[in-house]
């Protein structure tokens, strides 16, 4: 802690000097009496002043939370020396809101241990380094002040809250492992597919007795097997549109977390590509461990400005398995992401795009600004048409709307596209 003289010390010393000088010059002992208390205060303050030493320990419970949950910060303070007055200010990073007083003044005896508790609400996902604590200690009679700051004593991981998704997008192709997705091919399963004539080797329990009675020969049921799918979530982190404390990246991360959770619950393999200034990827995997990996990877997502051109060539092959369903979550603001998605489609990937709309975050303005806004909207419509011509379903998702609406729009496009 940095120690310095309080303004009071200089003021009192000056008053003592002035009063004593005046007493000598004017030969008035009364002026020396005026100086006496200030001299006494200074002498006593300096004699009693001792350098303050404290030890801090910060713990946050729970260390992992969801957006909107409350966490508790506990600060342990141990005074190695007596401190007449210690001001403690716990600074919370943006994204956490204190629910009680974050600053307190207390007095500590030598060796005394105190615990301060502060409840906070997590308002935004992310990884937080907690522990920016400002300290100010005052000596007895306030002649000296010491100030210091502690940093990074604890960490907190806040995961994005999930968007409600009731029905997911079905991929065009399934994989070989068992899952919850009904495959197009026929095989052992429970979903009825068709009937055919009995051949040697068919199981007796597969015989469709009603059809067999009608045709006077044996017919059997055919079914679709349940297979799993590979789903790759493509998160565009080149740029974002934001307003206040909300942004398109926040929406995209929440949607990615929700989709990952739902697909993993169906025993599908889910992979993640963070395509932006910093390129990140997770190979497709299954189960709870993959869910944690994806959640941790999403926490590190942030906009990093980069002018370097990137395309899908930079991605390792195993991140994009053939026949995988690629769901892109992008505001479609950066040409690199737009181009990469069209490239994926050209390579034959099953692609769907959720356009995390930047329109609610950019007010239209007036005059020339309104004209520019209208032109920008037209460009976005043209881009959307370009995707649809390539057979890519694009659904606009706005802040405040359920994600399910966008997913249903994509499902509807794919259903009609299949019929054509």
């Amino acid at each position: 802690m940095t120690r310095f003289a309080a303004p009071k010390l200089g003021a009192y010393t000056g008053l003592v000097a002035a009063a004593l000088l005046a007493a000598l010059v004017l030969r008035r002992p009364e002026l020396a009496v005026l100086a006496a208390p200030f001299a006494l205060a200074v002498a006593a303050g300096l004699a009693l002043s001792e350098r303050a030493e404290v030890r801090l320990a910060l713990a946050v419970t729970p260390a992992r939370a969801l957006e909107g949950e409350e966490v508790e910060l506990r600060l342990d303070i141990v005074a190695e020396t007596p401190i007449e007055r210690l001001d403690v200010l716990i600074e919370l990073p943006p994204g956490l809101a204190a629910l009680g007083p974050a600053a307190v003044s207390l007095r500590l005896a030598r060796g005394e241990r105190r615990q301060l508790a502060l409840r906070a609400r997590t308002e935004r996902w992310g990884g937080y380094a907690l522990g920016r604590i400002d300290l100010r200690a005052r000596s007895p009679l306030g002649m000296h002040v010491e100030e210091g700051r502690a940093t990074e004593l604890a960490s907190l991981r806040v995961y994005p809250r999930e968007e409600e998704v009731r029905r997911l997008l079905a991929p065009l192709e399934t994989q070989l492992s068992s899952g919850n997705e009904v495959a197009r091919a026929k095989g052992d399963g429970i979903e009825f597919a068709d009937i055919r004539q009995f051949v040697a080797g068919d199981r007796i329990r597969r015989i469709n007795w009603r059809a067999s009675a009608r045709r006077s020969e044996l017919w059997v049921n055919e079914t679709h097997p349940e297979r799993n799918t590979d789903v790759i979530l493509f998160l565009d982190s080149f740029t974002e549109a934001s307003r206040g404390d909300r942004s398109t990246l926040d929406l995209a991360v929440r949607a990615t977390a929700s989709l990952a959770e739902r697909y993993l619950a169906r025993r599908d393999r889910v992979g993640l590509i963070g395509f932006g200034g910093v390129l990140r990827w997770l190979l497709p995997g299954m189960g709870r461990v993959q869910a944690y990996r994806i959640a941790d990877a999403l926490l590190d997502t942030e906009i990093v400005f980069s002018y370097a051109w990137k395309d899908v060539e930079v991605l390792p092959r195993r991140t994009l398995p053939p026949q995988a369903l690629v769901i892109a979550l992008s505001p479609l603001l950066d040409e690199r992401a737009v181009g990469a998605l069209l490239d994926l489609r050209a390579r034959g990937f099953d692609l769907a795009v959720v356009d995390v709309s930047p329109l609610p975050f950019t007010p239209p303005g007036t005059g020339l600004d309104a004209t520019a806004y209208a032109l920008w909207q037209l460009r976005r419509d043209a881009l959307r048409y370009r995707y649809e011509r390539a057979g890519v379903a694009v659904a606009e998702w706005r802040d405040g709307e359920p994600l399910q609406v966008a997913i249903e729009e994509v499902r509807s496009f794919r259903r009609h596209a299949a019929r054509r």
């Binding site: 120690r3 003289a5 303004p7 009071k8 010390l9 003021a11 009192y12 010393t13 000056g14 008053l15 003592v16 000097a17 002035a18 009063a19 004593l20 000088l21 005046a22 007493a23 000598l24 004017l26 030969r27 008035r28 002992p29 009364e30 002026l31 020396a32 009496v33 005026l34 006496a36 208390p37 200030f38 001299a39 006494l40 205060a41 200074v42 002498a43 006593a44 300096l46 004699a47 002043s49 350098r51 007449e84 007055r85 001001d87 200010l89 007083p101 600053a103 307190v104 003044s105 207390l106 007095r107 005052r138 007895p140 009679l141 306030g142 000296h144």
Partner: protein, 126 residues
């Protein structure tokens, strides 16, 4: 008052200096016993002014902090009265003692300031 309203500690000593100057201007012949009360009053005003300026509305202050500070101020005022009494008594005996005593008084004043400076430098370097 201006110092408290503007939260500027630098204004406080000037106001005390002005109050002391006004008191000095009212002094007449003979030793004024009211100087004790004036000294205690000035110290009390200074301490309360600095307390008000240092007080932060965002800080939740524990009762022990305020009680301790109040007790310190009260102790200082009591010590002021005692010390002032000693000074006045000494001055009363010393009326008419002449140049030698004036020189001794000046040396004591300088010595006090030097002691304060010594203590300040000792605590700053520790």
């Amino acid at each position: 008052m201006a110092g408290i309203v503007l939260r500027r500690p630098a204004v406080v000593p000037w106001s005390l200096f002005g109050a002391g100057g006004l008191y000095a201007a009212t002094l007449r012949d003979g030793l004024d016993g009211w100087s004790l009360g004036v000294a205690a009053g000035l110290l009390l005003a200074a301490e309360l002014a600095y307390w008000a300026i240092e007080r932060d509305p965002l800080l939740r202050e524990e009762p022990a902090v305020a009680l301790r500070r109040g007790a310190s101020i009260a102790a200082l005022v009591a010590a002021t009265l005692a010390a002032g009494l000693v000074v006045l008594t000494t001055a009363g005996f010393a009326v008419g003692a002449g140049l030698a005593l004036a020189a001794a008084g000046a040396a004591a004043a300088v010595g006090l300031l030097l002691l304060i400076a010594r203590l300040a430098s000792a605590t700053s370097s520790s």
